[in-house]
Symmetry: D2
Subunit: 358 residues, 4 copies
């Protein structure tokens, strides 16, 4: 079940390799009768697309989704949506030596063992970040359905290296049109500094990691379950599918673990409309696995992309000798900016599933 | 599917509330013919049991698991193991006012909405940390099965408040008999300081959080899958079932997100036995969702237990007014020490499932 | 996942062996706030209980379900219901020779291979029909929930050997209080003949099979899905869990396969209330995997119970020689009458899950 | 999860409608390193393809599968196989009146309610038998993998209307190259009579149903599980996805329900090679949900295709009036011959999954 986001109501089966004929997905379980806004989907996917900025790979793809089924005149018909994105700009020659000389901290070695060496190594194969494009297509649809229900999902770059953006106010999530920005941060000043950090890494043939913060507003209290089907469990299961994601924290998360209960606990109060709310939101909108009605807030840590131009130490898996490795090909010095819409997309699919898929 | 750890091969269905007649589990999918070491199971469960130390709740339970099915003379017969632990020491009178005055940052409010107010509030009901006892029983069995395969799982208190233990060396996990310690840390000196932090919180009728670090050694390279069934995904899905767990990071995790690729990448090398290994282990033993053969290392952040004796601000959900709340009853000032075996248990079940359940 | 009825919303994890300390189940996903009618549950379970009539095993069990969790004053609280039925009347000595001399057409041989000989052979172990008692408990609850929604599930003995009962009128299901009859048939005259067939088998130390017909009324059109999650798929997956069930047909089933389309097709019409209905119901209430609004009707074929007193040919699995086998112990000459409530129970769980678990 | 064959190890996500741009599937979980025999796949798919004979629809499609991902030089690489079949010959104009005048016993009415009228009605949309083509592609691969393990799956037309083929000998399954026959029966004489029955129905603008019998040889004893994950459960869940399948019986099935235990029980014996086998095979190779080592044998009943040319009675769902309906378009008078490879395909996927997906 490796490549299926297998929700109770919604399933997204992803296929493709970086350099296969196409990548794509089958999206099952969406409500029938929903009119897609295709321009909005394209705009959403453009946020993830490569080649738009100096901090991203120079590989350019039209990345136009071709819908094979599931829509009638742009309206969901209840049948699974089959969608493919053709790979038009493949350069598999770049990757020939990686079969026996795995890239440090990339999937190459583990995948070679897992698949007996038969895995497609070109461009990372099925492990490529490119596989998040069909997830963005699915997520873009879910975002539109959620929006009609008053639910919005916004993410921003929380940090790049040591540079921090203004965090979300977890009680009143800022709506600063982050999604429309070329570099999705709340503080454009901090964004400038982050871009300098990325550019510096690029000039060093290196890469740098960062953190994405995401917030979901508009979900009422009472969705989720204790234990294994809690909201954290479901989000975690799906979000860890995003390549390079290595950490996840909800609400005050790791910082909260340093606190006392009297600090971390969120006092209840009653707002002007008579709703029961909390005065602050260290619980990240989830209590006992169930939504509290407050914004769901989490942060996801992305490791620096392992594909760097610097000479690195690897091994020959055939000769069992230490080898120097220099990777050519096209790589992002920082994948965090492009990961922002991917986090939103996976969150959107998960939240729509949480709400019963409709 | 809220209370089922629903692995591909192993399923653990947990039942019970803090003050119901019994709690327990049905454990399905274990291999037949395995002779349990019951003394070892008891020793493992004793690590989680309450009442053994000043930092834990004063509630004492024999916590003796009664096996209802699945064993013949202590040997698994292939049928599901039904196990129950009777609740002998219930004091449900302590909790009467919580039905309309939810405890801040506890599950009370979210659960009341989710279950229309019909949920069992006594002692946290099904949301109680007590429900981790049957998980420990299941995990203890899995640990024994894994041990026969050369796989060991060890956890320690990584931090309490601001006090840090010596971290695991992620390449050569220390075997310092942590499991046998009353306070499971690598550095007993730091452990003393942690206990002082906990005692201080207790005296203030408060609580404090912390972090548990866990390592799995002996898992060969090549287990897991990319995307949604990766090792991180499976561990995350199951670990977030542990009450109060709000953050999870693998390998260098959030710290890695601050690094450059050239720092965070783990160079390959060949060890004395000719095995391909990495010189350090910032990847936490998982690459592309698949085990690399290095120790699997992760940290889990636990919020301070929300049940504190201090007066707090809550609301009357009936009158929609702000109310003061003072919780009586018995509570741990810090649940982190007792969470250590729970993390090991859930990890053991997940890893055994990853290996095919046998 | 062998012993979990793993619905989208409702899960029932069954445990126990015929002669273990107890059998039981964990029932997860039921709506909170439902007041159980315990007398009705007992009456339902009594229909399956052994020892009540001459055609059943002479083993008598109180079969009283002990609820361990999930109820507060008889009302569901949203937490899983843990229920056990103690095995008070065990005679495991009867079964000693079956370990190496498997009973023909019983699970003994296949189970011994599957579980490496470690399976519990006494009374059929986990394969015993006795394991349907906890399913009946779960089903009895679901039936009560469904009844409140106007949905009723009725089954009767369709045939024993060659003797046929009056079949259901699939358009207007008869309500003849079948459930209250000691021998659940529509035509008591045919029931007499069936009982004679069973008694004749009993006197010959033999057994006889039969067919159960079941109907679900009150389910509106539009539930289910095409392909793998159709109503037939879900019912089939769950019903084949009932021991001895070897065939299943919906609507006209195997007889319909002999017909022409013009005969088998069900013309639509409009009833007096303006509802779209079909004039007959060869489709069994399911079209394209989705309910049509007509009664769901199916028949399940039960093989004659393989445990017979007659001398049979078996083998010694150790010596690899042909051996005579004579089974002692207590066995039903016909399990079909007791299977009737089990079919209703499994159907009830499946239909409640189909409707979203509430 | 409607359109996902969701095995433990193998998943097949089917997409497409009869007249969408393409149909296809994502096939996940196949072992890496398997060299496909594409000619054999084509030959297999040709058995299902329309237009080859007078008893099939006159619609002709090249039905050439286009592989989008998952293969490198015809060898599985471990990544999901994305495959599509373009719909080149669409005539959606034929179906316009069916939106409000549903075809009797077709999915039209139930689907319109399920999907709020937004479902694609053209050619049956997602409910079309055409969706079995990608299942055949997936099944053809699984058949090749199974063949390497000595496992073969063969099906034949067991009956058309009242005409019966020679049944399989369930102990020694005949290998009469059925798959190579244009009309897959054991007895060509009976096949002639069946074709006459079909031709007669066609001349009457009618259709006729039938039964497919399938046998799996080479599966060793000990695969499967009791209760909900038994072999019957898994096959049933998947096989009922085939359009028009309304009944399923294993071994002696409904006929066995008429027998006594002494007749239906299969005595064990030891064959010339020292294997434990049964002298006959009324149990259909499955005991207690687990394989016995004998051939797995089952029969599937197909209703006559509901799309017939004869005038039928329907309703106007808008006006709530009874209406006459005459269907135009292209339809098979009997889908049973084309269902034979589909049954084999779904069985192959299920059996490969049962064996662990490899």
């Amino acid at each position: 079940m490796s490549s299926i986001l297998n929700g109770k109501h919604i399933q997204v089966s992803v296929f493709g390799q970086s350099h296969s004929a196409a990548i794509g997905a089958v999206i099952d379980g969406l409500p029938a009768g929903f009119q897609l806004d295709e321009a909005e989907i394209s705009a959403f996917m453009a946020r993830r697309a490569p080649g738009k900025a100096k901090f991203a790979t120079s590989r350019k793809e039209a990345d136009t989704p071709v819908v094979l089924s599931g829509l009638l005149d742009g309206v969901t018909c209840g049948a699974p949506i089959g969608v493919m994105i053709q790979n038009t700009n493949t350069r598999s020659g770049d990757y020939s030596n990686l079969h026996t000389t795995p890239r440090p901290s990339h999937s190459d070695y583990a995948a070679a063992v897992r698949y007996g060496g038969f895995n497609d190594i070109a461009g990372g194969g099925h492990f490529s970040g490119r596989l998040t494009a069909p997830l963005c297509y699915a997520g873009a649809i879910c975002l539109q359905i959620l929006k009609q229900k008053g639910i919005e999902i916004r993410a921003h770059i929380y940090s790049i290296g040591d540079v921090l953006d203004t965090p979300f106010d977890p009680v009143h999530i800022q709506n600063d049109n982050i999604a429309e920005k070329a570099f999705p941060v709340l503080s454009d000043g901090q964004g400038e500094k982050m871009q300098a950090v990325i550019e510096s890494a690029r000039l060093d043939a290196d890469s740098v990691g960062g953190v994405v913060e995401c917030a979901v507003t508009g979900v009422k209290a009472g969705f989720g379950d204790p234990m294994f089907d809690g909201v954290e469990n479901q989000l975690a299961r799906n979000l860890f599918a995003i390549p390079a994601l290595k950490g996840l924290e909800f609400g005050s998360g790791f910082a909260g673990a340093k606190k006392r209960g009297s600090e971390n606990n969120d006092p209840f109060t009653v707002d002007a409309d008579g709703n029961i709310v909390t005065k602050k939101n260290d619980h990240g909108g989830i209590l006992g696995g169930i939504t509290s009605g407050m914004p769901i807030v989490f942060r996801a840590a992305f490791k620096p992309t392992p594909s760097i131009g610097k000479v690195q130490q690897s091994v020959s898996t055939e000769k069992k000798t230490v080898e120097e490795l220099q990777i050519t090909g096209r790589h992002d010095p920082c994948i965090v900016p492009r990961a922002v819409p991917v986090v939103e997309a996976v969150t959107a699919i998960t939240i729509l599933d949480l709400l019963g898929g409709k």
